[in-house]
């Protein structure tokens, strides 16, 4: 265990960690928002919306994330006519492509999660709302969303951990996240074990942090509702 070697590369590791956190943060924002939008659209019960959303989820869940990432990053670059449009300003950035791929991926799973949570709400509560003459929006805000949140929150913590694991793939498209940095240092120093262990420890710490955060959220948001 070469501690001095690890310390020498500490700035690089920290830089990698920052990139990982940035990726995670933006992906979470994008994926959660898109997931919520798709869930609401899906609940409107229009067949064309539901079918499209189901097809999207089927595609995402049926293919590896790596394939999705490469299609977005390398695949889009194949088309010369696309490169001449202003869309290219977005796709040119590896960070944007990575966030797009990770975000789309997590939004599909998130939508499934939320749909399941909404389905789990006892029918009786919905009927009670309708009997009381509540408007759809009122029902959504006061009963459906809070109840769904209650069911979804524990499961969503798993999804956030999934997002963290997804970020490790960013190094395949030139981004230097924590895993990418460790591979870089590994190529320079051939000291495989030390740095992979350090990276593993950091990921486990991040995991713990996420679980703790969700534990706190559950206490604050769920217990008062129970």
């Amino acid at each position: 265990m070469n501690l001095s070697l690890i310390l020498a590369h500490l700035p690089q590791l920290i830089q990698g960690l920052i990139t990982t956190l940035e990726l995670m943060g933006v992906t979470l924002l994008f994926g959660l928002s898109l997931g919520l939008v798709l869930t609401v659209l899906s609940s409107l019960n229009r067949w064309y919306l539901t079918k499209t959303i189901n097809a999207f989820i089927f595609l995402i869940r049926g293919t590896p994330l790596l394939v999705q990432l490469f299609i977005i990053y390398y695949g889009i670059g194949q088309f010369a006519w696309l490169r001449d449009t202003s869309l290219w300003l977005f796709f040119k950035q590896p960070f944007a492509c990575a966030v797009l791929a990770f975000g789309l991926n997590t939004s599909a799973y998130t939508t499934e999660l939320f749909r399941g949570a909404i389905k789990a709400i006892p029918r009786g509560e919905i009927e009670a709302c309708q009997a009381l003459g509540m408007s759809n929006t009122l029902m959504l805000c006061h009963i459906v969303l809070p109840r769904a949140l209650q069911f979804a929150l524990p499961a969503y913590s798993n999804e956030v951990i999934m997002i963290l694991k997804c970020t490790t793939l960013a190094s395949t498209v030139t981004l230097l996240d924590l895993t990418g940095m460790v591979r870089l240092i590994n190529a320079e120093t051939y000291a495989s074990l030390e740095f992979f262990l350090v990276a593993g420890a950091i990921y486990l710490l991040l995991n713990g942090g996420i679980m703790a955060l969700f534990g706190y959220l559950e206490k604050k948001l769920i217990k008062p509702l129970a």
Partner: protein, 248 residues
């Protein structure tokens, strides 16, 4: 009935595992075959290239049986050291850092590097913020880091071919690679949109003394055999023949 089917499948997969995981013991070369014309994979999955032909010629002379396996670049030296392979080949520059870990033959190729730029650019311009693509973990990447430092942005790719993909996609201002590799790419796939910057870099410090075949430190006799054979090939004209086939 179902139990029997499941047991058969289980046994089937376990046997497949052993068949796939065992390998015969010969002089096993490891290479990363993403570097035409030195080493590359053709569309039948076969590994070809200048380095492969030189190695085969040497093996024929020494009456060894040689096989070539495609492996990722990062894993080459570690795999050699752990004993997975007997030799490494494939545009590997002889550098002092690498010489601390492995033994090299005499160089079988003196290497220089060059840049590939868009054809409408008059010459290579390295300024603040230029983005250059290079293969990760290579001495080429080290040269760029040491020479230009933070002035430019260095994009590292698993293979130089991925770097070329990004060059076409205009994510890069230039690709930095070994001279024959970039010459070959511009000729075959440049599609008249890219050219060589003619900014040739000949730096023994980074690019090393040339390409060598790497062996473990405990195999000096293998190195001796290969050096002897390489000399023979140069004497009897086989080396020149192979060189002309790839580089003229």
């Amino acid at each position: 009935m179902l139990n029997k089917i499941l047991k058969l499948c289980g046994i089937g997969f376990i046997s497949l595992f052993f068949m796939q995981a065992t390998q015969a013991r010969v002089i096993k070369f490891a290479t990363e075959a993403t570097y035409p014309p030195f080493v590359y994979v053709n569309n039948h999955g076969e590994i070809h290239g200048f380095d492969v032909d030189i190695a085969m010629a040497i093996c024929e002379l020494l009456k060894f049986e040689c096989t070539f396996t495609n492996q990722p670049w990062d894993s080459l030296i570690p795999s050699l050291q752990f004993g997975k392979f007997e030799a490494l080949i494939g545009a590997i520059s002889i550098t002092p850092e690498r010489q601390e870990k492995v033994l090299f033959t005499e160089p079988y190729y003196e290497n220089k590097a060059d840049y590939v730029i868009p054809i409408n650019q008059p010459s290579l311009k390295i300024k603040e913020g230029t983005i250059i693509g290079v293969q990760a973990g290579t001495t080429l990447a080290d040269y760029l880091t040491e020479t230009y430092g933070d002035k430019i942005k260095i994009n590292r790719y698993a293979s130089v071919e991925q770097a070329f993909l990004d060059l076409i996609a205009t994510r890069l201002d230039a690709v930095f690679g070994d001279q024959p590799v970039v010459i070959h790419w511009v000729k075959e796939s440049g599609k008249k949109q890219f050219k060589l910057a003619e900014h040739v870099v000949h730096s023994p410090q980074y690019l090393g003394k040339g390409f060598g075949i790497a062996f473990r430190k405990d195999e000096p006799d293998l190195v001796e055999h290969f050096d002897f054979a390489l000399n023979q090939l140069k004497k009897d004209g086989t080396y020149q023949r192979i060189y002309q086939h790839y580089f003229d």
